[in-house]
């Protein structure tokens, strides 16, 4: 499985939950804490994100940044970067 990671700008997030609804992996939930605006913000609650970017596409406040694991090169041990 491709692994992803998201970071959420917690002071920008308004806790609208649209990212939570949009996530096919159910990776996201709301925090127990509140931010300075008084909202519970979105957080990763499971380490099963695939980096599909659905959450970032629906976020009205552009609070989400998404990273994805680079595709491993088959048959090679540890991944090496080869200059073009």
């Amino acid at each position: 499985m491709i692994r992803g990671k998201v970071t959420i700008a917690e002071e920008i997030c308004k806790g609208c939950e649209l990212c939570i609804t949009a996530c096919p992996q159910e990776s996201l939930g709301l925090s127990d804490k509140i931010n300075l605006k008084g909202y519970r913000y979105a957080v990763l609650i499971q380490d099963n994100c695939t980096g599909c970017i659905n959450c970032a596409l629906v976020c009205p406040d552009a609070a989400i940044t998404v990273y994805r694991q680079k595709k491993p090169v088959k048959g090679v041990g540890p991944q090496v970067q080869i200059a073009a």
Partner: protein, 258 residues
């Protein structure tokens, strides 16, 4: 923006477009305006048009759109965005010009400007955010309000005998020879956002080719005006807005009138 260090083996696959400013948006939680702003700025970024794009902001919730878009933006009087955009595009034809309006702005007080801009085939992109109410002023009935829909000025639901029918202004504009590309999109799911982005890309490409008016309606939500949570509002949108305002292209160069 402070980005965390990229963890070993991970690459960045999505980040907020650079042309969207760092200013936190004032919109209510879950409001579609923010998504449309982001998509628009993303396309402008990707097409390298930041320094030659001029937007025209409306009166409505998106009145402060210029705070969030790091491009030149002119504020227009209520309903007059497309007329202002006309003037800008005619004086500066090498700029990419768009107007951005809500349904109260574009389809109520600005109906005349809207129809005549499209009828003249002005070479601009008109973005129309249809959330079925006047969001900014507290959720009053708009021309686009659905029959039976409760608003602060139709507390028992919109009734035809008193308020007529939901105005399908996009269908109307597609009839005009001046419109080149007319489409109806949404911004409530990842798939819808991807399609909306394509429509914006296409519209700006057509504008660069001087093809005439491109018009994109975005059927959107107003969680506060509709008195729903954002997730409920998106479900309601699919169940109630889409049957009256079906998504898809109304007019394309390949199918000029369908």
């Amino acid at each position: 923006m402070d980005l965390p260090p990229i963890t070993n083996g991970f690459e960045l696959v999505y980040q907020k477009p650079q042309t969207l400013t760092e200013t936190p948006m004032h919109y209510c939680p879950g409001c579609g305006h923010g998504v449309v702003h982001r998509v628009l700025m993303e396309v402008i970024d990707e097409m390298g048009l930041q320094d030659r794009t001029i937007g025209v902001a409306p009166v409505g919730c998106s009145v402060f759109a210029y705070e969030y878009m790091n491009i030149d933006v002119q504020e227009a009087a209520h309903g007059r965005a497309s007329a202002v955009a006309t003037g800008i595009k005619r004086v500066l034809p090498d700029r990419v010009v768009f107007s951005y309006q809500g349904d109260g702005d574009l389809a109520a007080i600005g109906t005349a400007e809207t129809i005549h801009t499209v009828n003249r085939g002005e070479n601009i992109l008109m973005l129309f955010i249809n959330n079925g109410v006047y969001g900014m002023t507290g959720g009053q009935m708009a021309p686009t309000t659905l029959l039976g829909m409760k608003t602060t000025t139709s507390p028992y639901g919109r009734e035809t005998s008193l308020a007529g029918y939901p105005l399908k202004i996009t269908e109307l504009l597609a009839q005009l020879p001046g419109s080149y590309y007319v489409t109806r999109q949404a911004a409530h799911t990842a798939a819808a956002v991807r399609k909306l982005k394509k429509a914006v890309q296409l519209s700006l490409q057509y504008q660069l080719l001087n093809k005439g008016t491109c018009f994109i309606e975005v059927v959107s939500n107003c969680p506060s005006g509709w008195k729903m949570t954002p997730t409920e509002s998106n479900k309601w949108l699919e169940a109630n807005m889409f049957p009256i305002y079906p998504l898809g292209d109304l007019k394309t160069p390949a199918q000029p009138m369908n």
